[in-house]
């Protein structure tokens, strides 16, 4: 994820301090990976240098001075461009799972067992996400659904692979 664009997008609703930005980011997008302060300040100084944000005010308190950032016209255009550009779909070719299945078959190990254990592991995470979704707000539900659909796709592949293990074994084993 582009942290710069995300912070810029958060600034579109009005000027904020670095600390507020971090908090807003963590609340909305950083459930499992909160931002470090260092990341926020290095990103903001880069955006400042590129003219995408400007300093809207400085508060001098007892501690270090607090800069308040505002998005510039160029910043808004940059966010707009980022949002309008489609993300490259990740094809997940040659995944670790595929490699493990083929290696298990090549070495005469139990590939069906490997798939069963992997399914159980995926389901374990899906249960955690489902539980979080049940207890969370709409934003939580969307985040969890996104992860759940990806895990479900993995599992559908696992089932398909399990159904084809016999044929795959014939193809990958040396004659």
């Amino acid at each position: 994820m582009s942290i710069g664009h995300t912070l810029l997008g958060l600034l579109e609703s009005g000027p904020r301090h670095g600390y507020d930005l971090k908090r807003a980011f963590d609340e909305k997008f950083g459930h499992d990976k909160p931002l470090h302060y260092g990341q926020v300040y290095s990103t903001m100084s880069r955006l400042l240098k590129n003219g995408l944000v400007e300093v809207d005010g400085i508060e001098a308190g007892g501690g270090p001075e607090r800069k308040r950032y505002a998005i510039t016209e160029a910043g808004v255009t940059d966010v707009q461009r980022w949002l309008a550009t489609p993300e490259k779909p990740e094809p997940y070719l040659q995944s670790t799972l595929y490699t493990k299945v083929v290696l298990a078959l090549l070495t005469g190990r139990d590939a069906a067992e490997l798939l069963d254990v992997q399914r159980a592991e995926h389901l374990r995470l899906m249960r955690i996400l489902t539980d979080r979704k049940r207890k969370g707000d709409l934003a939580d539900q969307l985040i969890c659904d996104h992860a759940l659909f990806h895990l479900e796709a993995d599992l559908r592949w696992l089932e398909l692979a399990a159904a084809r293990l016999g044929r795959l074994a014939q193809e990958v084993r040396p004659a």
Binding site: A112, D116, V117, R119, A120, E121, H122, L123, R124, M126, R127, L129, T130, R134, L148, L151, E152, L155, R156, E159, A162, A163
Partner: protein, 228 residues
């Protein structure tokens, strides 16, 4: 031997339909208040396992213990009474009686157990409220949406206060939003009444509402909790 505290346990179940083996040594156990997903590809024996556990089909071999009582030797009349009073059922297509209104459908198992109409319908309405379908009480199944019909079916399954709910692909005919809502309501209601749920599904998002899964493959079952 029965796993400590389990409500329903099956050991070494075998079942064949003519020359076709449907189950070949399946094991199963579930505790009160637990939701167990039975997963596996089509034709693996999931539904046969559920039908054996629920006393709908008699296994050729093996034992099924419910609440300390062996089911395999019971006469049909005793099994039928057990299904009516202790078990609840939800199927893929609600299987509601089309001539009855939704509230009459939910009240039906209570009426079959001897409850008076007024009492049965009052209980039915409470469950319909809980499943968020009290507004369709007076409608017939043909007049409600698939999602509403399935919630009515869940209300019917829970109305008698069953100790085990058997759900065979309960969301199979629903879109994912409706399916998940049905799962939420079904599992919330079951957990709050300490009922066990045996959930047959091939959908992993549905299985994610369970506490653990049993995988049926090649007519044998496998408790994944004991593997991982």
């Amino acid at each position: 031997m029965t796993p400590a505290g389990s409500l329903l346990t099956a050991r070494g179940l075998r079942k064949a339909y003519g020359p076709t083996t449907a189950l070949d040594g399946a094991e199963f156990s579930i505790h009160p208040g637990e939701v167990v997903a039975v997963m596996g590809p089509s034709g693996s024996g999931k539904s046969t396992l559920l039908h054996c556990l629920a006393g709908i089909v008699r296994p050729d071999e093996g034992s099924i213990t419910y609440n300390g009582r062996e089911l395999t030797g019971l006469p049909d009349s005793a099994l039928s009474a057990l299904r009516r009073s202790e078990f609840g059922f939800v199927f893929q297509f609600g299987q509601l009686v089309p001539e009855l209104t939704c509230v009459e459908n939910v009240a039906l198992p209570l009426r079959l157990n001897g409850a008076r109409r007024k009492d049965a319908e009052a209980t039915a309405r409470t469950w319909m409220e809980r499943l968020e379908v009290d507004d369709v009480a007076a409608k017939r199944p043909g007049e409600v949406s698939g999602g509403q019909g399935q919630r009515v079916a869940v209300a019917r399954a829970l109305a008698t206060g069953p100790r085990v709910v058997f759900a065979d692909e309960p969301t199979g005919a629903l879109d994912s939003l409706n399916g998940e809502r049905v799962m939420e309501l079904l599992t919330d209601a079951a957990r709050s009444t300490n009922a066990a749920v045996v959930l047959v599904t091939h959908e992993t998002r549905v299985a994610a509402y369970s506490d653990r899964e049993i995988v049926v493959r090649d007519r044998r079952s496998r408790d994944m909790e004991r593997v991982v």
